[in-house]
Structure formats: C-alpha cells, structure tokens
C-alpha cells in the first residue's frame, strides 16, 4: 500500500476505475500517440506485432474504454444521430425507429430521441439538438406544418434526412426517404379488383395532406386502369386516427340508401383508420368481409390479431429507417435527391377481404 500507484490520499482527481489512454501507453511502454494509433488500427503504424500486442493487451487488462467526450471534442464527431418524430405512440413509426436504431448500432452509433412538438415549444432543446453539436445528423419527420418551416433551417445547420416529406421541401432542402405511397394503394386496389369488386371506396386522412394525395392517386390510377372511378360519394377524408376511421365509415353508411347502392370494398388510408373502420362495421352490423371488404395501408403488429384480421399492404418502414441512417453516415450526406425506399409495398391478405357477396 505504499504509493507505487498514482492514487492520491486526499481527493482522488478522478473516480477509481477510470483508465486513460496515457495509462495504457505507460503500461505498454509506448507513447500515447502510438497507443492511440494502434488502438485505432491506423494502417500507417509500423510497430512490431509484439508492440501492438502489448498495447492491445494493456488496454484489455486495464479495461480501457476511450472517453467519448474527449474524442468528440477533438474529432468533431459525436457518434450520435437524432431521430425527431411527431408521435412516438403511433405503432406506425416504431418500425422506422427500429430500422434506424439497428442500422445506427451496426455502425457504433446511438440514437437520440426528439419530439417535434417539444422542439417547437422548447427553444432551449431546439438549440441544443440543432446547434449544440449534440448529434452528427438528424432524421426528421415532416408533414407537420409548423415544423416544416424549420426543416430548411435545420438542414443548414446539420446533416439532415427527411422522412415523410412536406411537398414544398421535397428534394430541395435535404434528401428525402419515402416509400412509394401510390404503389401501396394501387396494389391494394388491384387486389380488390381482382377479387371482383367494382365499386371501391376510400376513407383517408386530410384531403390536402401530401401523403393522402399520393395514396388517393394510387387508388384512382388502379381503378382507371380497370375502367372504374373513385366516386366522390364513396370517399371520406378526416384525420389519420382510428376514431376518424370509425367516424368515416359511419358517415359513409348514412349515404347508403338501397342495399345495392354501396361500395363492396373500402380502403383505409392507414392502419389506424382501418382499425376504426372494423369497429364501425361491427357497431353497424355490417358483416366483414361478407357484405364489405376492408383493407388498409400499413401493416402493424395488431393487424393479424383483430377480428376479423385486417388485410393490409406494408410499406418498407424498417428499410426507410435504415436508409436514412445510411445516408446520414455516408459522404456527402447532403445529396438532394428523393430516395424512394427500395423494397416495394407488400400485400398481406387476411380475413377482412373476400370476393363480393
């Protein structure tokens, strides 16, 4: 116990257990820079294998882990990516989050969570995240009017990738990662047409929302190809929620007079809407799929557990998260093109759809 170590009796300057690069270097009898280069596998290093082994072993034995703050200060790289979304509670974006997190982890990056509404109200948080060099890049979810106005500003301060783009910003401010929305609803519509449905309706989100425009167009295109149209009267646009899906179908049903005067299949603009539609159908005693087929965009974990289980088309959300991270970590990250995420939408046929009665 007699002072061979540098531990001081009074106040220890750092908590025990803290091992610095200098400690590793000393233990391996090399300089700190050389230790740094060996530990970081610098290819220019010509040290003998023995020396390298000595350094690696010393690091291992001392349990050395580099201090990230010091690295960051020196290299201007935090190893952190921010993910700023609207509504974490929505099951829809969990897959995107998972994809982003997995891909980040594969590159030894971690994800920091931000909330759009909070960033809008908490100026301090905004500055820390956007201007404080807290993260190396940001994945932001567009489509929120007030927030969209800030995206250009954010993209100027930090490498940024947009998911779920607002139309004005598309391809002009930062790369956009988006799925092929039109293909998704086209696929759903073609599937229903193939089943024999000829009159197909739609309950979706706000009419002017960019996502709705794309999804509605997909329905229209598929119908047009089959020589049919999307009738105004078979359409309701409210919000993207389950409650809206329920209200939407109730609204549609009030328009139905005779038994033949109604669509035989309905598409829900997203899975929440689809869930609400299923509920309204049950409440209105409309048999699904016997009297009415129901299908929706987005395949979430709940789809197969509903009664009846819900036919859906899944968008490659996980892959979008991965792509967003990959773009952020690639050089140069500021490419301005629009990236449609690759795997095409995929159909999940379940019990809520069938040939028309």
């Amino acid at each position: 116990m007699t002072g061979r170590t540098s531990k001081q009796q009074g106040r220890p300057r750092r908590q025990s257990g803290d091992v610095r690069l200098a400690d590793v270097a000393a233990a391996a009898r090399v300089s700190a820079p050389l230790a740094s280069r060996i530990l970081n596998a610098d290819p220019l290093v010509r040290a003998t294998p023995e020396t390298k082994a000595r350094v690696l072993e010393a690091a291992e034995q001392l349990g050395y882990v580099p201090n990230i703050a010091a690295k960051t200060l020196r290299q201007r790289r935090t190893g952190l990516l921010g993910l700023v979304v609207h509504n974490l509670s929505s099951p829809i974006y969990l897959d995107l989050l998972q994809g982003a997190r997995t891909e980040a982890a594969a590159n030894n990056y971690f994800l920091v969570l931000g909330d759009v509404d909070e960033l809008l109200t908490d100026e301090e948080a905004y500055r820390i995240l956007v201007n404080g060099k807290r993260v190396d890049g940001l994945i932001v979810q567009g489509g929120h009017g007030e927030f969209d106005q800030h995206i250009a500003e954010i993209a100027r301060a930090l490498p940024t990738v947009i998911v779920n783009a607002p139309p004005k910003l598309t391809g002009t401010v930062a790369p956009l990662v988006a799925p092929d929305e039109g293909a998704a609803t086209r696929m759903l519509t073609e599937y229903l047409l193939a089943l024999g449905h000829t009159r197909i309706g739609l309950i979706s989100g706000p009419y002017e929302s960019p996502t709705n425009v794309l999804r509605t167009n997909g329905v229209r295109e598929a119908l047009a190809e089959a020589g049919a149209i999307l009738r105004e009267e078979d359409t309701v646009h409210l919000t993207w929620s389950a409650e809206a899906g329920r209200a939407g179908l109730r609204e549609l049903a009030t328009r139905w007079d005779g038994p033949g005067d109604r669509p035989t299949a309905l598409i829900g603009g997203n899975s929440l809407i689809g869930i609400g539609m299923l509920r309204a159908a049950a409440e209105l005693d409309i048999a699904v799929p016997a009297e009415l087929s129901i299908a929706a965009v987005h395949d979430t974990w709940i789809s197969e557990h509903l009664v009846p289980s819900l036919t859906t088309v899944s968008l490659p959300l996980r892959e979008m998260g991965e792509t967003a991270v990959r773009l952020l970590l690639s050089e140069p990250p500021r490419a301005r093109q629009t990236i449609i995420s690759d795997p095409p939408p995929r159909l999940h046929v379940r019990a809520s759809t069938a040939a028309p009665g």
Copy 2:
C-alpha cells in the same frame, strides 16, 4: 476584409458559423471565464447589470451555443440518459418511454435508446454505453434472464435505475421503479366479483416470471377475500404475447365439458394476452361478454378500438418513466430502495365485461 478578424485565408480551422465562448467574451470585452460565469448565471458574479447585458447580447447576436463535448469533458456530465429496453415494438412500454423522455427533456436531458438483446450480443456497444461515459445514467428493463446477470455490473459502472425488476436484484443493486402489480390484478378481480362472477380464470405469462407471480397473487388474494379460489384448471401460463393469449384460451376451452363447467370471467396477464383471448373467443364462437367476460392488465391505445372494446386496468407507466429519470437526476441516485410508482392502477371498464349471463 483586412485581417481584423482571426479568420485565416488558407484552411479555415473551423467551419463558419461556429462561435466559441472566446468570441462572445471578446465581443463583450470581458474575459472568457467571466463570460462563462455570466452565461451560466453564476450567483457569485458581481458584474454590473450593463456588463451582464453586454455578454448576453453578444451571445445572442453571435448565435452562441456552447460546445457540448467541451462541457462534457470538463464537467463529466453528458446531458444524456440511456434507456435500455427489451422490445421497443411492444405498445406496453411506449408510455414508459414517453414519460422518461418528457421528464428528461424538462431537465434539458436527452434520451439515448438501447436494446437489451443488442447489448448482449454487441460487446462494443455494451462497453461504449456502460463504460464509455456516453450517458450519465441508465434506465434498464429487467426480467430478461441473461441480461439480469449484467445489471449489477452495470449499476457498479453507472448510476442505474431498474424497471420491471428481476427478483434477485430487487432493492439490492439499484433503485427499482415498479408499479403495484398485485393491486392491478386485485382491482380487476374485485371488479369482476362485484359484477357477480364467482369463477374467474387467468391466462398469463411464464409461471415463474416475477411479474406473473405478483399478478397471480393479486388475483388469488382478491378471490380469497371473497371466499373463492383460483382453480388450477382455470389457469394457463405461456408467454406474454397475443399469440399466447389466443393459444391459452383455446387450451382452456378444451377443458370445458358441460355448459356450466367453466369460468364466466377470464383475466389476461397483459394487454397482448387479452387481445389474443378476444380473438380466440371470436374463433371459438364464445360470446364476449355474454358467455365470457374478458379483462386484462395494461391499458394501451388499442384497447378501446377492439371489438368488443377491452376492459383493462392501467399501470402508471408514464409516471414510472418520469420517476426513473427523476431518481437518476437526483443526488444521490444510488438509493437502494424499491420505489412503487405512485398513482395506483386505474380501472377502464369497457364492453368486454358484464355480469355473468
């Protein structure tokens, strides 16, 4: 353009837009330390209001945002908290995540996301998060055999709070934030008893899991108080998934011979199980709630949109997240007591329960 500034013509040493504390100090004609103290509202500072205003204004005008890496290196405080959970896709823990995120943000902290399984397989990620001083503290979700073995080690390296505790670690290794599991199932059982049910069954997660033990005990206690018991034959223990809830009810149903020989109400160990039970009931043509009442632990967003909507008891997950963060940020954070999160469970009566037929 003639050299009053320190900008060099050749390679700029830092990207434009980067403002350092020194720049603010120079603009305000004070020393950097004084500027630091004023910006951080050090109460010992006696500078004149004019001086203070000058510094604040200079910071504002230059758009100064402190470099977090430098602060962290100096103060040994990252402003980051890690949240390590098992299964982000589960709707159950989203509320916990939200609560933690909100409370963290209120203290100008951000949340970093970790995944238990990934941390177990990726040694590098584990070291970075646990030993790399990447975060100031960790909220870890227990109840995962392999991971539980690491929790003590983690708690030794970093301020740690456990949620969803493994029994061995409870109160011995780090503070535990847990809801009153027993009270939740007791409440559900008492409600069903009050409706007139006398034979109540249970489909829950793995028998030996600590959470299941607590929840099952709650059912037993409430039944005992009413002079009833939880019959072995009315019980199935599989996993915590919707699939297990479905399989569980199917299994129970095979045990029912005569029409009178069955429970009139069933409790699902969590909301996923409850969802699966609802599905199995529909598949088996068991009318809910006419023939069988179904209720479950955890109130998620989907509960009210199911058909029939699901009666649940909600645990204070949001508050647990908040409490966990508050503990981590309070001094000393290493208190070893068990913290039962405060608001008691709350009953949400919906359409899946009724008086026995």
